[in-house]
């Protein structure tokens, strides 16, 4: 297997995730972008472990513990949105949500939203 190809593919996937975070206008696209970065990290771990370090189990343990904890965190966030927010707020996340926003009231003045 071509090691360079694998690494560049992972970096491409990582950059796709970063692109998606800035491009996304809803929470689904944002989670999709998060998933790309996680996938690129998982493939990094697996390929490095397999091709460079005699299949060291450290990477596998990291993947298990890391992925379980991150996905459980994301599950709790989505569960909270599903069960506690009203439908109007859900629609905001569904249709018009950006991770990075710049609004004047966050710099000075009052926040009367």
């Amino acid at each position: 297997m071509n090691f360079q190809l694998i690494i560049y593919f992972n970096l491409l996937l990582f950059l796709l995730g970063i692109f998606g975070i800035f491009y996304s206008r809803n929470i689904i696209t944002m989670f999709v972008s998060y998933q790309f970065i996680i996938i690129s990290a998982i493939i990094n771990f697996l390929s490095f472990s397999n091709l460079l370090y005699m299949h060291s189990l450290w990477a596998e343990v990291f993947i298990i513990s890391g992925v379980i904890s991150i996905y459980f965190l994301m599950f709790c966030i989505v569960y909270y949105i599903y069960s506690k927010l009203n439908l109007l707020d859900k629609k905001v996340f569904y249709e018009n949500y950006r991770l990075f926003r710049i609004i004047t009231s966050d710099w000075w003045g009052e926040d009367n939203r």
């Binding site: 090691f3 692109f19 972008s33 343990v61 993947i63 599950f75 989505v78």
Partner: protein
Amino acid sequence: MSFESQLTIIIIHYTALFGLLASALLSLFMKNRRWKLIFMFLSFLFVGILSFVYYSGVLFFIVGMIIIFFFLSLNLFVFQVRLFGNSDKFKREGKLKNSAAGAIFNILLPLLFCGIIGYLIYVYTSGFLQNIAVIEDITIAGLSDITGLFLTDYSLVLILIIALLVMSFFWFLIIGRDEK
């Protein structure tokens, strides 16, 4: 390992990588939220295939259990908004402003930013990656090896994760029951 087996693994590897990239791009650019989730789940399945190619297939099953919950909850959320969010009282007054210039700006700037970073990374790492010596030996990660490692060296991590599940039970009680 025989030549045919090696060839099979290489074909599966590149197919999975290609499938992963294709499903990733489709899930990112599709407008329909349901299809986004379907392609996102497909990309997760391709990662599972890749885990088998890297002789760590058991990982796919261990982490898959939690990832399934996440996908289920996301699907429920999308389904709920699609089903109940289209009634008149939730319809937005007037349309969202979607100018063509804004849309191009929204794509071009992140593309430029990621392109520049990608180019810099390529230039910086190409020399280093060309000189890396790859090990050809094959070892398969077994469930017993991984659980053995968890129980001996990383028992603290396991205790933390189990404690988290127990503590989260209290949180589900807090948000599940409305206070009087």
